[in-house]
Amino acid sequence: MNIHEYQGKALLKANGVPVLEGVHCTSVEQALAAYDRLGSKVVAVKSQIHAGGRGKGTLYNPETKEHVMDGGVKIAFSKDEVEKYSSHILGNLLVTIQTGDEGKVVNNLYIESGCEIEHEYYLALLVDRDNKSVLIMASTEGGMDIEDVAHNTPELIHKISVDPNSGLLGFQKRDLGMALGLSGAALKSFFKMLGKMYEMFVSNDCAMVEINPLVKNKNDEIIALDAKVSFDENAEFRHKNWDELRDLSEEEDVEIRAKETGLSYVKLDGNIGCLVNGAGLAMATMDVIKLYGGEPANFLDVGGGANEEQVKTAFSIILEDPNVKGILVNIFGGIMRCDIIARGVIAATEALSLDVPLVVRLAGTNVDEGKAILAASTLNIHPADDLAEGAKKIVSLIGGEA
């Protein structure tokens, strides 16, 4: 789960990590009041969306698609500029390298005090799946795309791995700071900041904290100038405050509804809907559809123990996508019984008066009963014995090559 920069900064501040003063705004009036309140001559006017590359993004009018302004993060030197930039940003569509062409409408702004920067660094904390521990990465090459740095000059990225038994140790913080070339007061400031940030990472069940840039100012203070924070959704049960931090407008409405019913759904660009049990098999089903000349319209995992109601919800979610021209159901029953799935499929097709071709492949627990139920129905359901046959059938039924 991602949160906005302004929320991430509030979290950093609450945990003792130095950030600049800033105000979250949702209107131009608020932005102007924020400028007065901050009392800083120079302020940053920052678009708040859940995607990176904001500074180099472009703003468009969401209706006319006309170009409005280059750059989703602007430095304003006067109140007039604050007014100009915030009115150009709010309500408009920000397209960045990470949003895709459709972009994201900016509903939130962050007005932040300026700061005299001596040097920009990169800092990230994340769970490293190879070492099975928290990894801290830092680089002197702040403000840049870190993947480029990793690719071109990997020696400029410094890493430390935190042993969960001992936690982040003093020498590790010192080593990392020294690797960044810090000394004296700046090294002390970095040392203290990193300890606080690690504590925050752990106590908040973060999945990632990325600060790009982390800066050193003229006074040798280390400050987080940006904050990209995401949480591990598995830990939601012990963080009641996440509900307030969640910006539902940043998530696909249909993906949220799917999740509420225990389904895992991701919309794709193709025209063949899929309904599958298990994440791996769901991905494999998409792959095989593509292999035989079709394009999957979605990823949908109904989970291990879906009931008739969930199957029905899954169908209605798939059919909300106007591109869907056919559906492939692929179930390998383990805990899930094929007869229950077959009944669910029939109930759903009747209730939703399904009018696109439907191919159903059943295997595993109670497969014979399941197949018999489908065969006995008067509905236009095409059975398949294996995944390849199912994929070929649905591709040819919607008029593709197979």
């Binding site: 099975k132 991905m283 390998f332």
Partner: protein, 307 residues
């Protein structure tokens, strides 16, 4: 022989009095698994009925292992308590007999809980963790066998193919594919699709290589991370038995989590293309469609003079 779990392994169930734990314990007994009891803190001394027979429940894993000399445990504890359940099992196996297999089925355990649990298990070298968020491990026998997890037992048969996979239902697909060419399985392991888990591909490959019963291996990966690439590179140097592979997620868009917490392409890394290429470079015979795993396996067996 099979790997890690013998046909008659003595198995405990953590969370045996819960709905999930009870349901699956019953299915395991039905398959023929040698369940010796379970553990639910606060319910020690009670019994649980599985397939018409009563099984004892203990308050702690130490008591349960001491009383039964269990070889393995399977965890169906809800996510908030599963990390600790893994550590309790690891500590108890280590203290009571110095070894044991801990299989964790639970899905949705916080990643940082797993970081702690995996490190805890790692410090007890006789203990092996499989999972979490996995279907478990099964060693089919002549008559029943040891099914430790949630997989449908009836699709398996004893044989010479070892199967290792990150995914649940895709493992069943692989099992069905071996059966379609009249091959059974030595042991099938679901290692799980979480970013931080216990046993990985390489340990499974090493065990299959050393196992007399196993003559060929099916390895199923998915997008995210680079465990498959590392396993492929390792296999090229260390595995002499034929390996057949598949990777799910060739059509998955980057940056989107595909169900499993670990199944996400980030920063252009961990794509199916990259993994297939690593497999092929290591001489692993790949199927681009899981329905062809059987045919590819048959081909590999013939090439190796095994059919």
């Amino acid at each position: 022989m099979a790997i890690w779990i013998e046909e008659d392994a003595k198995v405990l169930v953590q969370g045996i009095t819960g709905k999930q734990g009870h349901f699956h314990a019953d299915k395991m007994v039905e398959y023929g698994t040698n369940i010796v009891g379970g553990c639910t803190p606060g319910k020690g001394g009670q019994t649980v009925e599985l397939q018409g027979k009563d099984y004892p429940v203990w308050d702690s894993m130490r008591e349960a292992i001491a009383a039964t000399d269990a070889d393995a445990t399977v965890i169906y504890v809800p996510p908030p308590f599963a990390g600790e359940a893994i550590m309790e099992a690891a500590e108890a196996f280590d203290a009571v007999k110095g070894e044991g297999v801990v299989v964790c089925i639970t899905e949705g355990i916080p990643t940082l809980d797993m970081v702690k649990a995996v490190s805890y298990v790692y410090n007890r070298p006789g203990v092996r963790l499989i999972g979490p968020n996995c279907p478990g491990i099964i060693t089919p026998g002549e008559n029943g066998g040891a099914k430790i997890g949630i997989m449908p037992g009836h699709i398996h048969a004893k044989g010479r193919i070892g199967i290792v996979s990150k995914s649940g239902t895709l493992t069943y697909e692989a099992v069905a594919q071996t059966m379609s060419i009249d091959e059974g399985q030595s042991t099938c392991i679901g290692i799980g699709g979480d970013p931080v888990n216990g046993t990985g591909f390489i340990e499974c490959l090493a065990a299959f290589e050393a196992d007399e019963q196993t003559e060929a291996i099916v390895m199923i990966g998915e997008i995210g991370g680079n465990a498959e690439q590392e396993a492929a590179a390792w296999a090229a140097e260390n595995v002499t038995k034929p390996i057949v592979g598949f990777v799910a997620g060739a059509t998955a868009p980057p940056g989107k989590r595909m169900g499993h917490a670990g199944a996400i392409i980030s920063g252009g890394k961990g794509t199916a293309e990259e993994k297939f290429a690593a497999f092929e470079a290591a001489g692993i015979a790949c199927a681009k469609d899981p329905s062809e795993l059987g045919a590819v396996l048959l081909e590999s067996l013939k090439k190796a003079g095994l059919r």
